[in-house]
Symmetry: C2
Subunit: 129 residues, 2 copies
Amino acid sequence: MDISTREITLTVGEAAERVGLTTYTLRWYEQEGLVAPVGRDSAGRRRYTPGDVDWLFLLTRLRRTGMPVRDMRRYAELARQGDRTLGARRALFEAHRDRVLQRMADLEEDLKVLNYKIDAYRRAEHETR
Amino acid sequence: MDISTREITLTVGEAAERVGLTTYTLRWYEQEGLVAPVGRDSAGRRRYTPGDVDWLFLLTRLRRTGMPVRDMRRYAELARQGDRTLGARRALFEAHRDRVLQRMADLEEDLKVLNYKIDAYRRAEHETR
DNA sequence: GGTTGACTTCGTGTGCACTCGAACTGGAAG
DNA sequence: CTTCCAGTTCGAGTGCACACGAAGTCAACC
């Protein structure tokens, strides 16, 4: 089923710019099963629907929070299986949220070390001057 | 200059466990110049002083906050040049702290998306049941 | 004094997430 | 009709941060 160019769909290049990924990555995500096969126009070129773009946006958030591509693929598979996996998807997100919270807590601790060091350098600079 | 085994120094294995890195990584860090050449005992085995361990601990914090090894090496080089690089080291830490703060802000934003999604799944589960 | 186990160096291999080059094709503009 | 650009597939290459196997050495313990 071809998608008309006149719809509000985007080309790879446009979609890539919207979501902040490269065209290479977009095709690779599709190949890796992170994205369901994208619709094509009559010339065989990908046309990204607003729904596709939303999905990609979500993927970028997952990726940025450190979710491995492997887990993103697992999530994509669940999503393709429809409503009966809603619970599994929620569990996946909750587990991931916990990991993100843990990472944020770690970062706060590490930040203390950084600040302590900066202060120490400040004091040392004062000394040697 | 050999270091006596009777000192409170640690072997690679012990140091690795203390700082949460593998022995492979510890030797690799040294090879990469992230750590100044570590003292050896009479048998040529590495002996890590408390100071070495402190330094390694700091490196793990930098690493965990996402500093690339390249930058850690640059920092190590500055540190080896003594007090005259105190300002540069402080600047390096301040710039890194800013990046960490930015990343934390990003994570907070991403967390909102996760929470929104979890809520949406919860509502959807309620519907389909 | 033989065995064990942790160390040594050296080069090679691994996993992840892209990233790119090559060769080709199709639609739009001049 | 030609030129040009953005798209296509496919396989190969890149960068980062380790991880590991092989071959050997040495101190400690039974």
